[in-house]
């Protein structure tokens, strides 16, 4: 088997909480991401789901090295992201890109579309001159379904969906292998969401891209992803092939998440059994002992409060972190 494009090993990100003005001391840490591991094969789309605040976005940003990792590492196409410096870091930046959640915040309001999309070309010196860059920007705009004549417009002249396309064009400019899509559709209108998802799929086919698709919309993730990872409070609780995960979820949290997806058939909807979680997500500053999910878990036993569940491969390709997954 060939080496996967992306390998994440025990990646951890804690944000220290500091107190004091001049003499700072660390009084605790928000454990946003705690020791997650996974791989992404070339050409694959890995979905990452979980509720708000579970660390999905932080995981995506940390694995690209936009935040320094507390521990662990990411290897993208043979480069260790957090150790890369200088020209190797530029290689990583060229090969791995990101699409952001908020199309209103992710484009510099004072730059034209041309400057925004050509920035990666300029920074990585991919094309010799301004003229070649302009041509390439026009190509990219056409590729993402925008009118190449709008090259000199400013972001505020576009709609949310169009802006997201500009963001996608920028991400594609450096011809990356891997793109982290950080909830690229959750800020968009439902009708526009489908357009953008279809565009992402089309681009994947055309350019052979690999995606890490962070989202909280389970149906959309099922539509676009090959494998799906579920996060809860900074840890990964389950990872499996898409259909396997949706049909045979092993972790009680995954079961609860899946049962929250509405079924578009009122009769079935009335009959099906829902797993309703009680309580709120605990604070990541002081996560529960043992299994982080135990205070809300419908099937938790004494052991769950003490032992941290191991990350196990229960079936081929189906990983889960739960003591009771066998039952």
């Amino acid at each position: 088997m060939t080496e996967p494009l992306v390998r994440v090993e025990n990646l951890t990100k804690h944000f220290p909480i500091r107190k004091g003005m001049l003499i700072e001391r660390v009084v605790g840490a928000v454990q946003a991401v705690d020791s997650i591991s996974f791989t992404i094969e070339r050409g694959e789309t890995l979905g990452m789901v979980g509720e708000s605040g579970c660390g999905k976005t932080t995981a995506g940003r940390t694995l690209l090295g936009l935040y320094p990792a507390t521990s662990g590492r990411t290897i993208i196409d043979g480069h260790s992201v957090h150790e890369a410096r200088g020209s190797e870091l530029m290689q990583v930046r060229r090969k791995a890109q990101m699409i952001f959640q908020d199309p209103y915040a992710s484009l510099n309001p004072r730059w034209t579309v041309n400057s925004i999309v050509s920035e990666p070309l300029r920074v990585h010196k991919l094309l010799p001159n301004q003229k070649a860059r302009n041509e390439r920007v026009k190509e990219l705009l056409e590729l993402v379904g925008l009118n190449a004549r709008h090259i000199n417009r400013f972001p505020h002249e576009f709609s949310g969906g169009q802006r997201q396309r500009i963001g996608i064009a920028r991400a594609l400019a450096s011809e990356p292998l891997f793109i982290v899509c950080d909830e690229p559709i959750s800020a968009l209108d439902v009708s526009i969401q489908a357009q953008v998802v279809n565009l992402l799929e089309k681009l994947q086919d055309q350019l052979g891209l690999t995606y890490l698709f962070v989202a909280h919309d389970l149906s959309m993730v099922r539509h676009i992803c090959d494998r799906v990872a579920v996060m809860y409070l900074g840890i990964m609780v389950e990872l499996a092939e898409r259909d396997e995960l949706y049909e045979n979820p092993l972790h009680p949290y995954t079961k609860a998440l899946l049962s929250a997806v509405p079924v578009p058939d009122p009769r079935k909807e009335r009959e099906r059994k829902r797993v309703i979680l009680t309580g709120d997500v605990p604070s990541p500053i002081n996560p529960p002992s043992g299994c982080r999910f135990h205070p809300r878990c419908p099937i938790a036993v004494e052991r769950c409060k003490v032992d941290v569940p191991e990350w196990r491969e229960l079936k081929p390709g189906h990983h889960v972190a739960c003591h009771l997954a066998e039952n």
Binding site: L64, L66, R94, F100, A105, P109, V123, G145, Q195
Partner: protein, 313 residues
């Protein structure tokens, strides 16, 4: 695929020509009547000081004729003459040039220092920020006038005249520019820092970092253009501030030395003649009031026009 992946951008083809950011800014600025008035007055004052130089020479402005001292405004000397018989009209023209140049260059020095200190503190944060901001606050706590007077006294011991564009200036002009610039930057530094703190957290900065854009480019091409509004406003007000500070210091006799005229140092001896020779303080004083007021109104207008949160169009 049931949903087309082509967006409906046909609609975009028929929309009205779009307004750029500068169009919108100009629209908002135009509604500010006092700002427009300020702009006009400022423009006239600039024409007066720089255009007037085509009609009178600097030699004439510095020409002393004690026979004609302390003359009231008359046909030969429309603004009258001063204690040693220099023509006040000519002196307000050349003094205006120096005052305006001092105002602009001192504000430029202020803006440069303020941007660098504010940008570094705001972007890098942490210890660098703490050190720079404590220094800035220390500067703010010293009364600026006291600092100005001390520095003016300190640097005024040995000043040579300098030649530029075939004209001779008192070296004290340069000294004044620097001491005003070096004492006015703390406010601006704090404004720039605050802007940087908020803008650096926006997603497009993260996008630039994900692209691999070098730090200096993020600071100067991404963040700075987005914090330009408050910088332009305080730079404008800084020009007015520098002109009045120069007048203040010159009035105390610590500013620009004769024979180089400024609106400020023309007032230096005028206070002895407040009743007997009103023209000596009236004309330079009027010009100072006019320019400071017009620049302040202009700054107010710019603040409203450049602030994207203010009412649109």
């Amino acid at each position: 695929m049931s949903v087309s992946d082509q967006p409906v951008n046909m609609i975009a083809e028929i929309e009205a020509p779009s307004l750029s950011l500068s169009d919108l800014t100009w629209r908002r600025f135009k509604r500010h009547k006092m700002a427009i008035a300020g702009l006009v007055v400022l423009f006239l004052l600039i024409i007066y000081s720089f255009g007037g130089a085509f009609f009178v020479t600097e030699k004439y402005a510095n020409f002393t004729d004690t026979k004609e001292r302390l003359q009231a405004p008359n046909a030969k000397h429309p603004f009258g003459t001063d204690t040693i018989g220099r023509d006040l009209l000519a002196r307000t023209i050349y003094g205006g040039q120096i005052s305006i140049i001092i105002g602009i260059t001192a504000a430029f020095v202020e803006v440069m220092i303020g941007i660098v200190i504010g940008a570094v503190a705001g972007y890098f944060g942490g210890k660098i920020d703490a050190v720079l901001m404590r220094f800035t606050e220390a500067m703010l706590n010293l009364p600026q006038l006291l600092l100005l007077i001390v520095m003016a006294k300190f640097f005024s011991s040995d000043i040579k005249n300098i030649e530029l564009f075939g004209r001779e200036f008192s070296g004290s002009v340069v000294v004044i520019i620097f001491i005003i610039g070096l004492t006015s930057w703390p406010y601006l530094a704090r404004i720039v820092r605050a802007e940087f703190l908020s803008i650096k957290e926006r997603e497009f900065i993260l996008a630039a970092r994900a692209t691999g854009t070098p730090t200096w480019e993020i600071i100067f091409k991404h963040i700075l253009p987005n914090s330009i509004a408050p910088i332009v406003v305080s730079a404008t007000l800084g020009v007015a501030g520098a002109i009045s500070l120069e007048a203040y210091v010159s009035f105390l006799g610590l500013g620009v030395r004769a024979p180089t005229a400024t609106w400020g140092n023309m007032l230096e001896n005028a206070y002895r003649y407040i009743e007997s020779a009103y023209w000596m303080w009236f004309f330079p004083g009027m010009f100072i009031v006019l320019i400071v007021l017009s620049i302040n109104f202009l700054g107010d207008g710019l603040r409203d026009a450049l602030d994207p949160r203010s009412r649109t169009v």
